[in-house]
Symmetry: C2
Subunit: 262 residues, 2 copies
């Protein structure tokens, strides 16, 4: 005999219930489950087997994230779609968003610099050797999506900054210039809150959440050529990917070697 | 002849320079480049070729993220290490943090529920069919790292909640119970700000950044069994992985098929 089912509303506190509801609704919004209007509070309360107050709390969480808009008589609407950026493959933003609209870049800097020593080491530059620094604010249409700080090795970077940076991914330019495909990239992804100046630049609320991506990209021969610090608006970008379970991870001397622990 | 090098301080505004410095320092901290104390403001100003005011602004950004602590006479110290969680392979938190300390789970809920219809669909359950809901607050030692909301298919979930959930990953229990390895998972990773109640639960500042991971995990035969909504403290967890450039992504009818755009 199976245990007695307990509706989600049972012994948990309202804030816990609101979180449960918000998490499911968030992914439904991302999956375009709602045309533009969300169901009414009554309908959602019935669907999730919770009180209307809990539904209101859940919707307040999503409103605070900038995902929905609410107004009396008008109801609850999706404020903006989020765009998917992949974790499965190494692609530039323009390649990624192909089909969603025009990606254009406001070039805030493009010049030779003396890079910080830590950057020089990541790019395998000699101490004192110059790099090329590019800073771009990236838009999809009129929507700022990300602020990208890029350090390039000088032999490739010098040529990159002579090209059309407004409408091209740096990845595409590197491949044109180097004459071969990119190889791989190491990435670190963090969540941080937007400081006042970054928020202003990205036209988002101060204190909103950012996805911060550090990415070191190599040519096919393994040479690092491109170190980037990318701030993506948390309310506009979702990173998506698939993972597989590594074989025999628990036994043997190589257990866990495909797994990063530093 | 190469162009004249321009130090980073050149024509950009101070907030832009502070961001550049903070981004490099952040990754140096993660890479344990500093024992515990950071170099002095003077040393950092020289290293980054910026003013001491810019260094101060950069350190203020990292302090706001909870990454460093600053005090007069004592200087600047690393407040806490972040832990790496991998994007390359499908592992539970305990497996991931093996070697860093004991992962223990405070079980906040473990019971049968009537899942929301959207959850039932993801888990391929019949309408009205029950699921098993598990909610855990996960610690590394005394440090809350993540709050995990988990929906399991009932045949596996009924057995999972009879096991020791305090000290085991759900992944490991599913594999014991199903008698085979997990197969793959689809994941969506977002940055959101912590609402008051989630922040309190995770013992972090309200409005701090969270990494929100939605993960649908399948057995080797492709059957979805485990849908999770995981809130990870942004100041404690970095997601890391490697990407390779997909071959022939620009040509042919299959271009971009390994890339998710919904």
């Amino acid at each position: 005999m199976s245990p007695e089912p307990v509706p989600l509303r049972a012994p948990v506190r309202r804030a816990d219930r609101a979180r449960q509801v918000a998490d499911v609704l968030r992914q439904q919004i991302h999956a375009n489950a709602f045309e533009r209007a969300l169901p009414s509070e009554q309908e959602l309360a019935a669907e999730f087997a919770v009180s209307r107050n809990t539904v209101r709390d859940a919707l307040a969480l999503l409103k605070d994230e900038g995902l929905i808009e609410r107004a009396p008589k008008i109801g609850t609407h999706v404020a903006q779609r989020k765009y998917d950026h992949g974790l499965d493959a190494l692609l530039g933003l323009k390649e990624t968003l192909r089909g969603h609209g025009e990606v254009r870049n406001e070039v805030r800097a493009a010049r030779r610099v003396l890079p910080p020593p830590a950057v020089a080491r990541r790019l395998c530059l000699e101490p004192g050797e110059q790099a090329v620094y590019v800073e771009r604010l990236r838009y999809l249409g009129d929507l700022p999506l990300s602020l990208d700080l890029t350090y390039l090795v000088p032999d490739i970077g010098d040529e990159v900054i002579t090209r059309d940076l407004e409408s091209n991914d740096v990845f595409a330019l590197i491949e044109q210039i180097s004459g071969g495909p990119l190889g791989s990239a190491d990435l670190a992804l963090e969540a941080i809150t937007a400081d006042a100046h970054s928020a202003m630049t990205l036209q988002m609320p101060e204190g909103g959440a950012l996805l911060l991506l550090e990415r070191l990209t190599r040519l096919e021969d393994g040479r690092p050529v491109d170190l980037e610090y990318i701030r993506m608006r948390g309310d506009r970008i979702t990173m998506r990917g698939s993972l597989i379970r590594p074989p025999e991870r628990a036994e043997g001397p190589d257990a866990g070697t495909d797994w990063r622990l530093t």
